[in-house]
Symmetry: C2
Subunit: 421 residues, 2 copies
């Protein structure tokens, strides 16, 4: 490994740590003003950003990148305006720093409060989408954290131009220049060095495909906010209303097939298979979804293909779904905990007892009752923007008693909601 690279990354880390200490006590209104100034700077520098993006696009085309990759990389005035608007939205969120999370008084008269503070320095490792530069930096800044960004080499110039505009805005408002930094080299080794910089980086957020996340998981000596895969399930219980089940399943699979909250496996209770299986399978196939089913699913519709073992643990991110009949809630939970990725699962049922068993049984970050798995999203949760979804469990701080040996899950209770758009 290059000593120069080590020295470079350490210097970035040192500066970020120093900026983080300053940022931790910046008042909300100053952070928000800086975010609005950054939004304005991005609008003003739109031309420069587009020029930089054109360079990246040209190089990417020459390298023969796929159409999907090129689309992720491409910026236009609308996307730049969306980026600026995104910063303004983040400015409008309530400041999470300084909240009193809990407070109590001891018999000796001491009061104890649990107060929200920034994590410190957050390292973001991402791929081709240059807008992540603005989004991620803004979320970190809002929460009082310094950021070290490491974008994909394809988007290097675009990200750099965005960052220049952004930091210009921050600086104008008196925030530290090093609040947001970018790794100034496309050397792949820099990622490895970054993942060992535990003295200066508190949390790493990998944003990208499975191979990127896998590398980070394997190499990082720093805690991560991450999920490797979103193998999400929708379970249609014996006590499910068929119309609601159809609406939820269609949305959960087909609204957008490429997001991590898309359902990849449909489980149908044997108790309602006779009435519900055929309409669900037919509906999916009619909607252009490939169904890979167990014997029962294949028997329900001749267009269904037989599922292989690997299908139960595959994240398609495409218009493909695996379908299986299971023997009630317990079997559904068993299947999900065995083949799932602890991300997001939904049950459709009118039976509160079955819902409770499902909610308790699934070892997943998000469990929904009568609502679509596509709601697995910070915006849809009412949290504003998100930096990603974590399937990790909790790390506590301070004394670890029984309460700190617990993590949490989100239990979503709906009455058939599906996600629009």
């Amino acid at each position: 490994m290059s000593t120069d690279l080590d020295a470079l990354m350490t210097e970035l880390g040192r500066r970020a740590r120093k900026a983080a200490r300053a940022l931790a006590s910046v008042p909300s209104k100053d952070k928000d003003k800086a975010l609005r100034a950054a939004a304005q700077a991005i609008r003003i520098d739109a031309r420069l950003i587009l020029d930089a993006n054109a360079m990246d696009m040209k190089a990417a085309e020459a390298k023969g990148l796929s159409k999907a990759m090129l689309d992720r990389l491409m910026l236009d005035p609308a996307r730049i305006e969306a980026m600026a608007k995104g910063l303004e939205e983040i400015a409008r969120l309530p400041d999470p720093v300084g909240r009193t999370l809990a407070e109590w008084t001891r018999p000796n008269g001491m009061t104890i409060a649990r107060i929200a503070v920034p994590l410190g320095v957050i390292g973001i490792i991402y791929e081709s989408r240059p807008n992540v530069t603005a989004d991620a930096a803004a979320l970190c800044l809002k929460s009082g954290n310094a950021t070290i960004l490491r974008g994909g080499s394809e988007s290097f110039h675009s990200s750099h131009a965005i960052l220049t505009a952004l930091t210009g805005g921050l600086l104008a408002c008196g925030l530290p220049l090093d609040a947001v930094q970018m790794v100034p080299t496309t050397d792949r080794e820099a990622v490895g060095v970054m993942l060992r910089l535990s003295e200066y980086i508190d949390v790493i957020v990998p944003r990208g495909g499975k191979s990127l996340v896998e590398r980070v998981v394997n190499e990082s000596r720093i805690p991560l906010f991450q999920h490797l895969e979103g193998i999400c399930h929708t379970y249609v219980d014996g006590a499910a209303d068929l119309d609601m089940a159809k609406e939820i399943v269609l949305n959960a699979k087909m609204r957008r097939t490429g997001i991590c909250g898309a359902t990849e496996t449909l489980l149908v209770d044997a108790a309602c298979a006779k009435t519900h299986l055929q309409p669900l399978v037919a509906m999916l196939i009619d909607a252009g979804c490939e169904v890979r089913g167990d014997q029962a699913a294949c028997a329900a519709d001749s267009r269904a293909l037989p599922a292989a073992d690997i299908d139960w643990s595959t994240e398609y991110l495409d218009a493909i779904i695996s379908v299986k009949v299971v023997d009630g809630v317990a079997a559904a939970v068993e299947h999900i905990n065995t083949f799932g990725s602890h991300h997001t699962e939904a049950i459709v049922t009118d039976n509160a007892h079955n819902a409770e068993a499902f909610i308790t049984g699934c070892d997943s970050a998000i469990v929904l009752w009568n609502a679509s798995t596509q709601f697995a999203d910070g915006g849809e949760f009412g949290m504003g923007a998100e930096i990603g979804i974590s399937t990790g469990k909790l790390h506590a701080r301070g004394p670890v008693g029984v309460e700190q040996l617990c993590t949490f899950k989100y239990v979503v209770t709906g009455n058939g909601q599906v996600r629009p758009g």
Copy 2:
């Protein structure tokens, strides 16, 4: 590495995972009944436990273990009764599982709740103290987690006898046998295998000296609840009442010198050094504490020794303290963030503005205002027993928005409290 060992540890992990799934939904009253039954079983098996302990003690003496180590290893009827009482105390704590941590309703009518759930499987790696076997297992069980225990080889027989009694109690109440398991070999390699068992273990808790924790930190592929060191500071501000400062400093350093919350460095504001430094240094030395001071501290009392650079980052765990004069709160915070271990820091001051600056500035899990650092303890916080203190920052679960980019700190506000006993 031995394939047998791999197979053995994987089997332990599989069983623990299965037990954890069952434990997650065991009602509070059943867990509490099982804990009380385990306490009773420990009392009934006291003779067997003492016999096993005698074997361990004999081997330890033959190996020439230090007196301190032998004391940690030794069990007697009083310590066994304390262990049983400890289990009963944990039974009396409120159940942390199932608490609603937050709850809100979305415009579309969905309600979202954040509910406390167990972490899953917790691996505990500890050294010679056999009572950790009972304490740790009970805390994990109370919080619905399965446990894999790996004790020190010196306490193998003692821990095994305790575990046998304990699981007997659990079994009698219908809890799964594999809720608490022990690694059935003293092979050091087993620890390495355990630290890579991320599929089956959710969190590792290392309990022991710095070398144990360091090994775990370096090798673990699993998140940890841990702190490497407790280099805790007490800062006596210019606006500190001298009597309060003396009482707090004496307690913070000398109540027990061997615990992680003991103060290791005293910082005195230059603004009050003239009046406060000499009495504080003299008091400590009179109480039998070795003072390693900067120039000012050495000048204040001829018995003080000059501090070396290494002293500022040393956890003595002994009747030794480093003492330094600093230029106000900002310099104190800078010193603490540079040389400390992000564990616990105290400020003594009557000035709320300075307290606020200290509380905000220190990047530590616990910050106290006018109270002793020795309060850094789950019991003293009113949490009941603790499994350790973590200096790690937060891992969130589910969508990670700005709120989840934060961790918390404990802010303790007192009026001079010192910890008795």
